[in-house]
């Protein structure tokens, strides 16, 4: 079983967001992590490999620092990594997916795993777009996965419950929390990861140029939201406060 896992490096969930002099989101001083949903994807890839045998390749589009996220995946147990550095190109989801699909089409794959959403500017579309480009089926927001006889049987979350879908392989599956508990890299894993292959590519190496990946969506402006202001703390004994709160919700906030 050849498994490719899409891994994005994102800002830490605690990161404080500021704008730089150009009015764009500044990444200086921000600590970076592997997108939490991609950890589920890596873990699932490793579990399938452990059961079925095979190989797990982790792939990221990002700057050189994204090697850290890939190394983390290698330390968890992935076999090799591919990093495509987009250089100065401005990417949207269309562009990122085009690059990922090109990099993957150079590999052998039976299964592609990703997160259902990146927690930064993520929009829950890159993995699905990759499936569409490669002309393979996708199942999103998956919380349970079985691989058997060239098929994937995936349980996915819906708003009203869940559903179980079967798709032929190769397929793209995106992970939702609940799929598994990602392992922590062991000391030994971290040491081993240093020696595992990290294939660094440029867009030119993939035969892509700016024209082929020119973004469809253009960001026009960034801003920081008005911070919410603290409101009233309602004084008094519980009974009195509860009565006052009920009144305020109806008469002042007019929300009930």
């Amino acid at each position: 079983m050849k498994i490719a896992v899409l891994v994005k490096q994102t800002f830490d969930t605690e990161a404080k967001i500021i704008l730089d002099v150009n009015g764009k989101i500044s990444s200086s001083g921000v600590s970076l992590i592997m997108n939490p949903y991609d950890e589920f994807a890596v873990e699932e890839g490793l579990r399938i490999k452990e059961k079925e045998g095979g190989e797990v390749t982790v792939i990221s589009v990002g700057g050189q620092q994204a090697q850290d996220a890939l190394r983390q995946a290698l330390a968890m147990g992935a076999d090799k990594a591919v990093l495509v550095d987009q250089g100065e190109a401005e990417l949207d989801e269309y562009a990122t997916a085009t690059i990922l699909a090109k990099a993957i089409s150079d590999l052998e794959y039976d299964l592609i795993l990703g997160g259902f959403r990146a927690i930064d500017d993520g929009s829950a579309q890159v993995a699905g777009r990759v499936a569409e480009i490669l002309n393979i089926p996708v199942v999103n927001v998956v919380t349970g996965l079985e691989i058997e006889g060239g098929k994937a049987v995936a349980t996915r979350e819906t708003e009203s419950g869940s559903e179980v879908l079967e798709v032929p392989l190769p397929a793209v599956i995106t992970a939702q929390k609940g799929l598994n508990e990602p392992r922590y890299p062991s000391m030994k894993g971290i040491m081993k990861a240093k020696k595992k292959p990290m294939d660094k590519k440029t867009l030119a190496d993939l035969g892509l140029d700016d024209g082929k990946i020119s973004a469809k969506v253009k960001a026009l402006s960034f801003s920081l939201p008005e911070p919410r202001k603290a409101g009233k703390v309602i004084p008094g004994e519980a009974a009195e406060a509860a009565r006052e709160l009920a009144r305020l919700l109806r008469e002042e906030a007019k929300v009930i």
Binding site: E132, P137, V167, K177, L220, F222, A242
Partner: protein, 324 residues
Amino acid sequence: MAQGIWVFAEQREGQIKKVTFELLSEGRKAADQLGQELCAVLVGKGVAGMAESLGEYGADKVYVVENDALENYTTDGYTNVIAGLIKQYEPAALLLGCTVTGRDLAAQVAQRLQTGLMTDCTGMEISGDQLVFTRPVYAGKAIVKAACPEARPVMATIRPNTFAAVPNAKQAEIIKAEVGPGDVRQIIKDIVRQISERPELTEADIIVSGGRGMKGPENFKILEELADVLGAAVGASRAAVDAGWVSHSFQVGQTGKTVSPVLYIACGISGAIQHLAGMSSAKCIVAINKDEEANIFKVADYGIVGDLFEVVPLLTDELKKIIA
């Protein structure tokens, strides 16, 4: 030239989702401003009867695609239909609700049509002659305005509760379209429906949420009683989910659901940044917490410093009196 604003009319089991009416209401304004028509696309099995209700919220036309194989949503089936219709009629824009289905469908359709998609939007405006969308990013810590200047249709998914659903009665022209679901690779093996009398978390007007302060699963009963009085959904913090008190589908936050209710009542929740990420666009936030230093009070419109086991039942009683 591409013409017309389209809204994907999401329905499930004979019910149009509220977000569809919200998108039609706002889409109506945009269509009028741009001098274009507003169309809804309704897909499913035996759904034609719902088409008229889409006119009641402003649709000029409703394209209806009926097929037994479209009874339940599948990624391929719906993508084939929607992308097929778009190729035929070439609309300028397609709006969908940012729901599990809307998100799934939008990404596939956008890629099939080689166009841009802005997801989880909380605003739409017209600038010049193009639609500009507002998206919270980095868990709501920044806001980006973005557009898709060239590729058509412009696509966006919009968070439920962003726009008001305003009736704007039109006699919609109903057009039966013949597009097949094609080859569907996702085979449905089972559908499990959680029977709930409550609204869905992401669409609810009011949410009552509990955190670690609830102390155990049995205590969520007092939140349910409050939710019953308000017709609210019940949510939870990750701490409550990780403790196994409620299922992950209840989780609100950066790695849970993003909600935009009119009223969010946080009980025994400290207000960690990852929790706020999922609910800070609520119009009114109420916090009930025994720690007056809790971060949640920094964002709450109304707070009560007290023991939730005492305050919540009292609040339920008070609201019963008012609402009854």
